[in-house]
């Protein structure tokens, strides 16, 4: 009798610990990203999240740049290693740049990307994203995640280079993006190198700022 009731107590305790653990995990999981996602699960969740948010918001779909900037800052930037992206695009000049210059480079590069590609957001209607099976070992620190955007017309290839980042919300950060076979950061490398080689880092910052100003004027005119 005594042995039976102690076993039962043991089980009861185990079950309650399990229940509490599951509840915590469920609450945490819905409020916070699970820090042990695989790379493809991370991309799948991020893309689905962003796509749903965009589809549900009419002002974003119409191209409201302020709303899109807010969305990018809150929901996209935490999952990007933007410093790495900028450094990679700038190339050897990055190490010679002062911290102030590096900060400005990041700001202007980010503004360029957000302004330019916010137009793409207006094309979103009924697309879905299909994440392809991950071809990497579990211990790899840098991984390519391949996805496809499917909607009307041919599917569009969309790949991500992600790095393991223990301090990121989901354990991974994106450091390069590939659309239809073109790696974004790589494409900007020549652009930036041309400017730096000709006139230096400050000239690059000035060119970017000028491009951003021209784009914002054009968008204002278009409205």
């Amino acid at each position: 009798m005594t042995r039976f009731s102690s076993t039962r107590r043991h089980w009861a305790r185990a079950v309650s610990v399990l229940a509490i653990g599951l509840t915590i995990n469920w609450v945490m999981g819905s409020a916070v990203w699970a820090a042990d996602d695989t790379a493809d699960a991370f991309i799948k969740r991020l893309s689905a999240d962003l796509l749903d948010t965009v589809k549900a918001d009419k002002s974003i779909l119409s191209g409201d740049i302020n709303k899109i900037s807010v969305l990018v800052d809150q929901r996209v930037m935490p999952h990007l290693n933007f410093q790495r992206m900028t450094a990679s695009a700038v190339g050897p000049g990055w190490r010679q740049a002062t911290p102030e210059q590096q900060k400005r480079l990041q700001e202007e590069f980010k503004a360029l990307l957000v302004r330019t590609y916010s137009g793409a957001v207006t094309q979103v209607s009924d697309q879905t994203i299909v994440v392809k099976p991950l071809r990497a070992a579990p211990e790899d620190k840098e991984v390519i995640v391949r996805t496809e955007v499917r909607g009307k017309g041919d599917p569009i290839q969309l790949d991500y280079r992600v790095e393991k980042a223990p301090d990121a919300p989901s354990g991974w950060r994106i450091y390069n993006l590939n659309v239809m076979g073109v790696w974004l950061v790589d494409n900007y490398r020549t652009q930036f190198a041309q400017e730096i080689n000709a006139k230096g880092v400050d000239a690059l910052i000035a060119s970017l700022a000028e491009r951003n100003k021209a784009n914002s004027v054009r968008k204002a005119d278009a409205k």
Partner: protein, 248 residues
């Protein structure tokens, strides 16, 4: 008499060499993939002005005033011709499954889709494959050669331009006897393509500091990716971001 013609020939040759050399890139910023940069830039400028003044307005008018189902039909019709090209070139690259799939697409769309106006094949989940002779050459190891901007046709490479010539001569439109009809069909095909790109808008101009080099680099990456069907081997280069930097 012979002396005069010889010196005239020499002058002619000198002119030709000078013209060719003036199109060649020299100096510290010369890109090894783009030795003809100065010439290419001029042609790109010409293409841009034709696009702005002729092709874009035509494409916009087409998009805004042609009934949508007509636009779709025209688009599907030309896609069907491209599928014929893909079938041939997948075969040449020994990609049996892709070739068979493209062939089925052509059959289904031509028979059930009334000469390709209806894209029945996509409804039944037959995937499109994009193969052309330039890719076939690339697949079998032919290097791309210098970047080349073709008048009116835009970015290409020496290899892909040759491939394009082959594609054109084996294209169904080429078999149309009447020159006027053939030209009109080609014009409609160009307008259809341009209309499809209108939504991309000024993306290339807004996204870049130098539109020419941005377009060139994107195009070269895109072609390389097509040859490897979306999975190109990595090109090694130094990664300046991997080391810890001062701004933290």
């Amino acid at each position: 008499m012979r002396g005069v013609s010889l010196s005239a020939k020499c002058a002619g040759l000198a002119c030709a060499v000078a013209l060719l050399l003036s199109g060649c890139a020299t100096g510290p910023n010369a890109n090894p993939k783009d030795p003809l940069e100065p010439m290419n830039r001029k042609i790109a400028g010409f293409n841009d002005s034709v696009d702005e003044n002729v092709t874009q307005p035509l494409a916009r008018g087409y998009r805004d005033y042609t009934p949508k189902f007509v636009q779709r039909g025209v688009h599907n019709f030309f896609n069907n011709l491209s599928d014929v090209r893909s079938t041939l070139n997948s075969g040449l690259q020994l990609k049996g499954k892709d070739s068979a799939e493209s062939f089925m697409r052509v059959v289904v769309n031509t028979v059930f889709g009334i000469y390709g106006f209806f894209d029945v094949a996509t409804e039944i989940k037959l995937q499109r494959h994009n193969e052309d002779f330039g890719q076939t050459l690339g697949y079998w190891g032919v290097g791309s050669g210098p970047y080349l901007v073709l008048p009116l046709f835009g970015p290409s490479t020496v290899r892909d331009a040759s491939g394009f010539v082959v594609d054109t001569t084996t294209d169904a439109v080429h078999t149309i006897g009447d020159v006027a009809t053939r030209n009109q069909t080609t014009a409609v095909r160009l307008v259809d393509k341009r209309a499809g790109l209108l939504d991309a808008g000024n993306l290339l101009e807004q996204a870049s500091i130098d539109k020419y080099s941005f377009t060139r680099d994107a195009f070269l990456q895109y072609r390389r990716s097509l040859i490897y069907d979306g999975n190109p081997p990595e090109e090694d280069g130094p990664d300046y971001s991997a080391e810890p930097t001062t701004a933290k």
